[in-house]
């Protein structure tokens, strides 16, 4: 049963249970009242009939006494007692529970104690009728109530399942659409129109919301791309001016050092700008065409190209590549990803550290020596890892992540035994 449906079922069931519980005493009192009234009426009728029939018989006193004697012995449920005329008591009706010799059980009786006049002589007449005991009545009513409660519950579940499922169906459809929604896919959500007002309003609001989000996201992407483009020309101018300045024969040593420092900083700006542009282009789906690429071969090539950089940092390097691992991807992006992974490992390894790479059909693993683990949740965010010790662009890992996301390759990071490890499942 669904959560939402269960929520509706619970209060309804509790309410039904309460109502049925309340109905138990109510039913008992009503049944009891009707029964007692009926029995009392019946007792008075009996009394009247007995009195009038005795009178009609016009028996002698002695015969009457004999008859009453026999009556008392034979007739169950009625007892005559001679009664002095002087102290006639009022009639009384009452219920009593006592052990019955004949039925060998506790029984409840409704009684009428009345006075009867036969041949001018007063007798006390006690009429008793067996009725259902109170507890048994309550029990029977409870059982019935419980039965109806279960019937109601079963009915509720059946109806809720049947109709709620139908009623909430558009809601679940919207939920599925929202789950499938990806901001960077540029595809606005399309909801099916429903017959229910609230759901239509919900869908319209969701649609407006996602459209606004998509637009904002698009503008942001465009902004990044445009800003990066616009920066390229002024960067080119500054770069060219610095290159020219270097040609000046009259530069002092101090001035040369200043130009060199400016050159390095400018190189970093150009790099950041280039990487931002690359990210924007990936997001804008500018690397759509893909082909089957031999990752093992590409990895080997990248390693060869970077060998001298490994050497210059005196890093020990282990590589374990299964041949023939291929992926379907864009060549440019794959190369960018491998370069970034490698260079990242080289940059962040201390001198004499080690780097190990392994590749098989399951995935690509690259580890390098490090001192402290990185925060996994901040790791792939743009500009979150720029450290003053090794100033990079702060975008390398974001680019790796973006490319992995593009091809749905899960990318994970771990830090164990002084080793940073990145693993890409293929």
């Amino acid at each position: 049963m669904n959560k939402l449906l269960y929520k509706t079922l619970k209060p309804i069931s509790i309410y039904a249970l309460l109502v049925l519980l309340l109905s138990i005493p109510a039913y008992y009192f009503i049944v009891d009242q009707i029964w007692v009234n009926e029995l009392d009426k019946h007792h008075y009728a009996l009394r009247g009939k007995i009195e009038s029939r005795f009178t009609k018989l016009q028996l002698a006193d002695s015969t009457i006494e004999q008859t009453i004697d026999i009556w008392n012995k034979i007739e169950p449920g009625s007892v005559f007692t001679p009664h002095p005329t002087k102290n006639i008591t009022k009639d009384s009706s009452y219920s009593v529970i006592r052990f019955d010799d004949y039925l060998q059980d506790r029984e409840q009786f409704r009684c009428l104690s009345t006075s009867i006049l036969i041949n001018n002589k007063h007798y006390r007449l006690l009429l008793e009728t067996n009725m259902e005991e109170m507890d048994e009545t309550v029990m029977a009513i409870s059982v019935v109530a419980l039965f109806f409660f279960l019937l109601l519950l079963a009915g509720f579940i059946f109806l809720l399942k049947r109709f709620s499922g139908k009623i909430w169906q558009p809601f679940y459809a919207s939920l599925d659409a929202l789950k499938a929604f990806r901001l960077n896919s540029d595809q606005p959500i399309r909801f099916e129109p429903t017959a229910i007002l609230e759901f239509n309003e919900l869908n319209q609001s969701l649609q407006r919301l996602t459209e606004r989000n998509i637009n904002t996201y698009k503008q942001q992407k465009e902004f990044t791309e445009n800003a990066s483009h616009e920066l390229q020309t002024p960067l080119a101018i500054v770069q060219s001016k610095l290159d020219l300045l270097l040609q000046d024969q009259s530069l002092s040593k101090g001035q040369s050092a200043i130009v060199a420092a400016a050159n390095s900083a400018l190189a970093r700006i150009s790099r950041i700008n280039k990487n931002l542009l690359l990210l924007a282009k990936i997001e804008n789906h500018q690397f759509e065409d893909a082909e089957q690429l031999d990752l093992s071969l590409l990895l080997q090539e990248t390693a060869d190209i970077l060998a001298e950089h490994l050497d210059s940092k005196q890093l020990s390097f282990e590589m374990n590549i299964h041949p023939g691992v291929s992926v379907h991807a864009n060549g440019v992006l794959l190369e960018v990803m491998l370069n970034n992974l490698f260079v990242n490992a080289i940059r962040h390894s201390p001198r004499h550290g080690n780097i190990s790479i392994s590749l098989d059909a399951g995935g690509l693993r690259i580890s390098n020596t490090g001192t402290t683990g990185l925060e996994p949740e901040k790791l792939f965010r743009r500009f979150s890892n720029t450290s003053p010790l090794s100033p990079g662009t702060g975008l390398g890992l974001s680019i790796i992540k973006e490319i992995c996301d593009r091809y749905s390759w899960p990318l994970s990071y771990s830090f164990e035994k002084d080793q940073h490890t990145f693993f890409i499942r293929l």
Binding site: T233, A236, K241, L242, D243, L246, A257, A260, A267, R271
Partner: protein, 224 residues
């Protein structure tokens, strides 16, 4: 040699012009589409540097016109866009090279040198430079009659220096030329030092004069 710089940013055009001028190059500048059209229809250039985004028209159109007129001018596209499509389209339309902004002037100079050499000496793949002889097809270098055993990187560096004679080249420019995007990502440019050292040593041992000078703090210079 005549070079036409078609670039709408006067500051950049001026830098390029200043850097390339002298020795054997003479530069002219066109700042917009019409000026560029006027120049290319009136004269022939050894190399044209073409910015694709121009006021008054698209740089691609200029390429198309050059192609239609069957002109032999070498063309290097310099663009801020660095879009793969533009690059492919430009090269298909007959451009000889594509350089994305921002670039190092020595990089541009090396490419201009390479194109002019190809156009100028279309049948020869030999560069004669004082006592050095470079065979571009065989990728071999001789000092006088001695054959040098250079690594690929050393050979690339030598060619780069010859294309930038008497110019100071920063370490950044050298690193980028040698390792492209990867140099971009590495913060240390130490690896250049060992290549330069080896190149110098090999040249010296073969009896070549010491043209390759270290410039304090900034870089290196091939001084003739």
């Amino acid at each position: 040699m005549k070079i036409l710089i078609i670039e709408d940013e006067p500051a950049l055009a001026e830098s390029i012009s200043l850097y390339l001028s002298g020795e054997s190059y003479r530069c002219e500048v066109a700042g917009n589409f019409d000026q560029a059209m006027e120049k290319i229809s009136g004269y022939t250039y050894d190399c044209i540097l073409l910015d694709l985004m121009l006021p008054g028209g698209d740089g691609i159109q200029i390429l198309e016109i050059l192609k239609a007129q069957n002109k032999q001018d070498g063309v290097i596209i310099i663009s801020a866009k660095n879009a793969l499509d533009d690059k492919i389209k430009g090269l298909q339309l007959g451009a000889d090279d594509y350089l994305a902004k921002p670039f190092h002037l020595p990089e541009l100079a090396a490419r201009v040198f390479s194109i002019i050499r190809r156009k100028q000496f279309s049948n020869s793949n030999i560069i004669e430079h004082h006592e050095l002889t470079l065979d571009l097809l065989g990728r071999t270098v001789q000092v006088n009659e001695t054959l040098l055993a250079l690594t690929r990187k050393e050979y690339t560096l030598l060619l780069y220096f010859i294309g930038n004679q008497n110019r100071v080249i920063s370490k950044n420019a050298l690193a980028e030329h040698l390792s492209g995007d990867i140099a971009d990502m590495l913060d240390s440019h130490d690896f250049i030092y060992s290549h330069i050292k080896n190149l110098k040593k090999k040249l010296h041992e073969a009896g070549c004069s010491n043209y390759l000078k270290t410039v304090y703090a900034t870089g290196y210079k091939w001084e003739i």
